[in-house]
């Protein structure tokens, strides 16, 4: 805007109070916790560069000033980008300028007898600015803004040139452009949902040069250092009260209201250099869409705007702000902002994950049936969400393993199970500390949230001491066992072919046992502190093992030829626990006489069809012959499981393999 003072200046420019900074924003002051982001593009009211922008933000202010001429209707164009906890912003402000034109009071008469006056001018511009902030948390942010100013000084003067008979007056000009940067720091702190604070410096850092021309020095923008504090109080969800105080003595009071997507604001501002006490107001109506915000605001001054006045008054009052000063005029402004989220907004958060069991790779089926971890997740949206949990253990899984989908109510917190699959090919014989990665997916290909936690991955021979889990060692090596068993039984085909089919299981078990133990010795587990179980093929290779290994091996041989087995877990108090096994002869109780004359050597179990069948106990560690192993097994089972009521007391457990 250009103002022409029709003033005769008798003295050149004196010391003028012109400050480059105040917290005057064209959309008024809305505080930090507003639902709107548009007011935060203002470096004036938001020195700390605090931002609600999640990815990209863009703002454009177009305005009309009620003045005779205007330099630019485009007040500012701003860009904001958030990267994690960092926010970067930049703005171009072609409308942030103020030009003053002075009549120097000097004039001269040219040859046609007309008089011409000499002029001078000064143009203050804030051209662009840069901002950066870092959110240490959702509640605490520190930032800085740097703004670039130029000051264009110009004046005309007359130089007399003396010749022999006359004096010639030459009309000359001189100008100077002075540039400088100013930087400030700001802190934003959200105490709670109802109260936030901002603190910022004024003219803290200045970089640039002073005017060389002594005539222009006193008209440079002053850069006195100061500070401000802002308070944003939200007594109810639908309203906020804001207050800003500057050390210059200027202050602003603002009241904001909200109704759905609409917002209403009224800011009253006091300027030290303007009259009356409340120099003006900024009423605002705003609307928030999904990706854009619209602000219509006005700046209304309560005093008549000064168009013509003496330079002495100008020098005495000065101006406090390029945009807002006694020579500013009423305005109407339209601001449009866009929030462009190329990064999808997070809808669900994984608060914590509890790993409930270490990984024993051989228990692969167990992890399909039972979760190895539980995640606590919260729905951050107002809608029901369908969440797909996934997990992957480094060094074990190549891909993410999906767990059952969960539906979560709005803002609800639930626990979801995480399952894992151990690949058949996993064969590490080392115990390793690895990491489990947990992911939550909603609709996108990218996870909404993820979590990492250390998990112990045991070796394939590791065992947790639960006899029920020995079944996995039996099942995993069935191919080897089947091959071995068939080879042994084939070599005894002549014997088996002559036997009644009802006795097939009994004799197969007997033949396999006698062949099994022929070359084995009992070797106690050397890994006393950590349970270690051999797969059947390893027991053959090593030619021995402890009770777990031997029972697993024999059970696997029987199961591989269709003979049902069960491990018997003897939990002897204070002693080393022991494992042997039972196998199903498939004989009915009435057929017991085919096996034995001693009715204490067999036991009756009802099968899944409700029929009673004869099961025989075998003490595999006897490593002598089948009859002895059966005898020892029966005596132990009779004593500890039956007579001492071990089964009923839980001291003896029967663990069926299938």
């Amino acid at each position: 805007m250009r103002i022409i003072f029709g003033i005769i200046i008798t003295a050149m420019f004196a010391n003028v109070n012109i400050l480059s900074q105040s917290f005057f924003g064209l959309n008024g002051y809305w505080g930090l916790s507003s639902n709107f982001n548009t007011p935060l593009y203002s470096y004036e009211g938001n020195t700390s560069n605090y931002s609600h922008v999640r990815d990209w933000g863009f703002s454009f202010i177009y305005g009309v000033e009620f003045a005779k001429s205007t330099n630019s209707n485009i007040y500012s164009i701003s860009l904001s980008k958030t990267l994690g906890n960092h926010n970067l912003s930049a703005r171009f402000t072609p409308g942030y300028q103020k030009e003053f034109i002075f009549n120097t009071g000097e004039s001269f008469v040219v040859e046609d007898s007309t008089s011409q006056s000499l002029t001078a001018s000064v143009n203050y511009k804030e051209l662009f600015g840069l901002g950066y902030s870092y959110k240490f948390s959702e509640d605490f942010s520190v930032g800085t803004t740097f703004r670039f100013f130029t000051q264009d000084f110009f004046q005309e003067f007359v130089t007399p040139v003396f010749e022999d008979t006359s004096i010639i007056f030459l009309r000359e000009t001189e100008s100077e452009k002075v540039k400088f940067w100013k930087g400030d720091l700001g802190v934003s702190y959200i105490l709670n949902e109802n109260l936030t604070f901002v603190f910022a410096s004024i003219n803290l850092l200045n970089f640039g040069v002073k005017a060389d021309n002594s005539d222009f020095k006193d008209l440079e923008l002053r850069r006195e250092v100061g500070g401000m504090i802002g308070v944003n109080y939200i007594p109810i969800d639908a309203a906020a009260i804001n207050f800003i105080y500057e050390t210059t003595g200027s202050y602003q009071v603002a009241l904001n209201g909200y109704a759905g997507d609409l917002g209403f604001g009224m800011t009253l501002f006091h300027d030290k250099y303007q009259e009356p006490e409340m120099a003006g107001m900024i009423p605002t109506i705003s609307y928030k869409g999904k990706i854009f915000e619209l602000f219509v605001s006005g700046v209304k001054y309560f005093s008549n705007r000064k168009k013509d006045f003496g330079v002495s008054e100008f020098v005495e009052n000065g101006i406090n702000n390029v945009l807002n000063n006694p020579y500013s005029f009423d305005k109407i402004l339209l601001t449009v902002s866009f929030n462009i989220n190329t990064a999808r907004e997070r809808t669900v958060k994984l608060i914590d994950v509890e790993i409930v069991k270490d990984i024993y790779p051989t228990f692969s089926e167990n992890y399909v049936e039972y979760p190895f971890a539980y995640g606590t997740i919260v729905n951050l949206t107002d809608d029901y969400l369908t969440v797909k949990p996934m997990a992957r253990i480094e060094g074990v899984n190549e891909e993410n393993i999906q767990s059952p989908v969960s539906t979560i109510a709005p803002h609800d917190t639930v626990q979801v199970p995480f399952y894992i699959i151990i690949p058949e090919s996993y064969s590490s014989e080392k115990v390793e500390l690895s990491y489990a990665n947990f992911y939550l997916f909603t609709i996108a290909d990218q996870p909404d949230d993820q979590f990492q936690k250390a998990v112990l991955v045991n070796s394939i021979n590791s065992w947790d001491g639960r006899v029920s889990n020995l079944r996995y060692f039996i099942k995993k090596d069935l191919d080897f066992s089947m091959s071995h068993s068939k080879a042994v039984l084939s070599s005894n085909k002549t014997v088996l072919d002559t036997l009644p089919i009802a006795l097939e299981n009994f004799y197969k078990a007997k033949i396999l046992f006698n062949e099994y133990v022929a070359n084995l010795v009992y070797i106690s587990d050397p890994r006393a502190t950590g349970e270690y179980v051999q797969f059947p093929h390893q027991t053959f290779e090593l030619k021995g093992g402890d009770c777990d290994d031997l029972s697993v091996g024999y059970s696997s041989l029987l199961e591989s030829v269709g003979i049902q087995t069960a491990l018997v877990d003897y939990k002897e108090n204070g002693k080393v626990r022991h494992v042997n096994l039972l196998f199903n002869t498939k004989l009915s109780p009435n057929q017991a006489k085919l096996l034995t004359n001693n009715d204490t050597k067999y036991f009756i179990r009802e099968n899944v069809d409700g029929k009673d069948e004869i099961w025989l106990p075998v003490e595999v560690t006897s490593l002598t012959d089948f009859e002895t192993a059966w005898k020892l097994g029966a005596e132990k089972f009779n004593k500890e499981a039956i007579s001492e009521l071990g089964i009923a007391k839980g001291k003896v457990n029967i663990v069926d393999i299938y």
Binding site: A502, G562, N590, K593, F603, I604, E644, L645, I647, D656
Partner: protein, 224 residues
């Protein structure tokens, strides 16, 4: 629930006993542990807990233990481990074992093999002629009861029913041991037995007795 509570409360143990043969009359044999051989029992023989005694016709044996004298009459068989005092809690535990022992009702993963051609896998084609050892076992159980070892008698009878299924079809024995359960106040267990016995071939007197006791137990259970 009752059984579970008892499992939690039960802390004691059943001590093994050694018996000495005081008197032998006629044909009395015994088996030690898992031996397949029956040996002739003589006076003064020390019998361990895992022994089984069997008497022939017109035979008997008198055993003496630490605090028990036990006389086993003719045509009977008893495990020495059954000659012991049990309380009601121990009896309930023993009865519960029958279910615990059974194979799982849901097989997780079938491991059935292909049946041999022309036969059905597991089909019992071999006919067995059962001897009277099951009845001897029941006779032994009766004598346990007559020697005031009723709880042990029921346990022995129940085991006999499983190992010698034909004995389960004998109403007189079934009623005898069901009555013990009833007399001990184990009404639910007794009722299960009576209901099962009703499916057997009964005399009029037996059926009347069963019906009467069944109704009586139902009334008691309803009033609880």
């Amino acid at each position: 629930m009752k059984i579970l509570l008892i499992i939690l409360m039960f802390a004691g143990g059943l001590s093994a006993q050694t018996f000495t043969v005081e008197k032998v009359s006629g044909d009395v044999k015994y088996q030690n542990g898992s031996s397949e051989t029956w040996l002739t029992l003589k006076v003064g023989t020390a019998l361990k807990d895992d022994a089984v005694i069997s008497t022939g016709k017109n035979s008997s044996v008198l055993l003496k233990g630490n605090d028990v004298n036990f006389n086993l009459n003719e045509s009977s068989a008893v495990s020495v481990s059954n000659i012991k005092k049990m309380n009601i809690d121990e009896l309930l535990l023993a009865l519960a074992m029958e279910d615990i022992m059974n194979a799982p009702k849901e097989i997780r993963n079938s491991s059935d093999n292909t049946a041999v051609y022309g036969t059905k896998e597991g089909e019992s084609t071999l006919q067995i002629i059962t001897d009277d050892f099951g009845i001897k076992r029941l006779n032994g159980a009766v004598q346990l009861a007559e020697n005031s070892l009723e709880e042990s008698a029921v346990v022995a009878a129940k085991e006999t029913y499983r190992k010698y299924p034909d004995t389960k079809k004998l109403p007189a024995y079934r009623i005898y041991f069901a009555n013990i359960l009833n007399d001990k106040g184990l009404y639910e267990e007794a009722l299960d037995e009576y209901v099962d016995i009703q499916n057997l071939k009964l005399t009029d007197e037996e059926r009347t007795e069963i019906n009467t006791k069944t109704e009586s137990i139902k009334m008691k259970l309803l009033s609880e």
